[in-house]
């Protein structure tokens, strides 16, 4: 595996996932890739040398560290859009970079302030079943 390919392949291609992949899909693809390119994997036999497999694993770790982090992934997607990657061309057309909202905005519930539901006591009737 050449270093050149590391520069040209996107992190999505390295993990073999769709650019719209969810966090769970990213994680699953990462686990699968780690297993596939581990030094003892028989699937590599005669296709990639141990050195090439090590480089691939390094790229896989790098890809996961970016794609598993929401903010880093957003920045990375913008970088791909600026480079003219077809899957991300809409990012630059539709929104200014500084005004971009985070990809997923979920309101986190304030558990401390929320009223606690009444405790339900479980009662077990004694007797014959």
């Amino acid at each position: 595996m050449s270093g050149r390919r590391a520069d040209e392949s996107s992190y999505y291609e390295i993990l073999e996932i769709d650019p719209s992949a969810s966090g769970r899909e990213v994680h699953m693809a990462y686990m699968r890739a780690k297993e596939t390119y581990s030094p003892e994997s028989p699937a590599l036999y005669t296709m990639f040398t141990p050195d090439e497999a090590r480089q691939l694993l390094k790229m896989i770790d790098e890809a996961f560290s970016v794609l598993s982090n929401q903010m880093k992934r957003q920045e990375y997607d913008l970088t791909l859009a600026r480079k003219g990657h077809p899957s991300f061309s809409g990012l630059l057309k539709n929104a200014q970079p500084e005004k971009l909202e985070p990809r997923v905005q979920r309101a986190k519930p304030n558990l401390a302030a929320a009223p606690r539901p009444p405790r339900v006591e479980l009662s077990v009737k004694k007797g014959r079943c």
Binding site: R32, P42, M47, L56
Partner: protein
């Protein structure tokens, strides 16, 4: 593309009409290859044939392991009195003429068994006639049981199919041979396409400098072709993407073996730079050879086995898939 021009003349100088190239085959052709002997190609071929026939599809199963044909034994049939050898020797014969019925309704066998010693070495003309006849055969499915190894004849029959299935087993020797088979098939296809797309000089130049350019895989080669000649490089990539090799993992024994199938698919996709499909796995089962000893097919002898269910699922997937254009030449 005038694909038919490429092989319009054989090494014998015989010009004849081709039905291959951009012409779709009459049937959906499924080729089963793998590079190594003893990995279950004949078992997979016969099982596919039986299930497809059982689904009501008229199916031909062709034994193309011309040097060691024994598909009839796997099917529990006796040696056929007529087969490919007679077809090759007599130009008036057609494939339906040499097909023999089997014990399974809708399933016909074209046997490769022969007492003649040199039948494995067929020439270009015979190979092309056989391929053209397969293309013209009016039926629903044709299953090709290929021989081991990477002989050009084997690769050409593999590459002519609509579904190009490669059988792996979890053993390193099988994996190595299957990868070698895939590499040979891939480069044979590139050689054919590059001539059509006038990329021969580009490919030769890249291959001459592969050390300097750090070309280590077909994916690397494709990327360099794309950068040198984007228009034809895109066409080449598209044509190669349509190959869609399919992987089947046979004789699986452990859960770790099960994970190997998707791993092989991932490695192939990364190495070749084109999509690969994973059809699924089939477990190792002693019942296979027990049934073979009884000269009855496992699917009839042990219909409640897990292998039965796994092969049926794989057949259903293949039968349900939309037939794609078989790209030949």
């Amino acid at each position: 593309l005038e694909r038919s021009e490429v092989l319009a003349t054989t090494s014998h100088g015989n010009a004849y009409q081709f039905v291959r190239g951009q012409v779709d085959p009459e049937a959906t052709i499924i080729a089963i290859g793998g590079g190594k002997g003893g990995i279950g190609k004949s078992f997979v071929s016969s099982s596919l044939g039986i299930f497809l026939a059982n689904m009501g599809h008229e199916t031909y199963i062709v034994d193309l392991d011309l040097g060691g044909a024994n598909l009839h034994t796997t099917l529990g049939e006796g040696a056929a009195r007529i087969g490919i050898n007679e077809f090759l020797a007599d130009s008036s014969l057609t494939l339906p003429d040499i097909a023999v019925p089997t014990a399974f309704p809708n399933l016909k066998l074209i046997s490769g068994a022969s007492e003649q010693m040199d039948v494995a070495d067929i020439n270009d003309f015979q190979r092309t006639r056989l391929m053209s006849s397969l293309f013209k055969l009016k039926t629903k499915f044709i299953v090709l049981d290929l021989s081991a190894g990477t002989h050009h004849t084997t690769l050409d029959f593999f590459l002519m199919a609509t579904h190009k299935m490669v059988v792996f087993t979890p053993e390193p020797s099988s994996i190595e041979n299957a990868y070698r088979f895939l590499k040979s098939a891939f480069y044979r296809k590139i050689r054919r396409y590059e001539a059509q797309l006038e990329l021969t000089s580009v490919v030769n130049d890249l291959m001459a400098h592969r050390e300097k350019l750090n070309l280590k895989s077909p994916a690397d080669l494709l990327k360099h072709i794309l950068s040198r000649d984007p228009e034809n490089g895109m066409k080449l990539q598209q044509m190669l993407s349509e190959l869609n090799f399919e992987i089947l993992l046979n004789q699986v024994r452990t859960l770790k073996d099960v994970d190997l199938g998707p791993s092989i698919q991932g490695v192939c996709t990364k190495y070749f730079g084109i999509p690969f499909s994973y059809l699924g796995h089939v477990e190792y089962d002693n019942a296979v050879w027990q049934a073979l000893r009884k000269r009855r097919h496992l699917l009839y002898e042990y219909p409640h086995s897990r292998v039965y269910a796994q092969m049926m699922n794989i057949t259903r997937r293949l039968a349900a898939a939309q037939p794609r254009r078989a790209v030949v030449l």
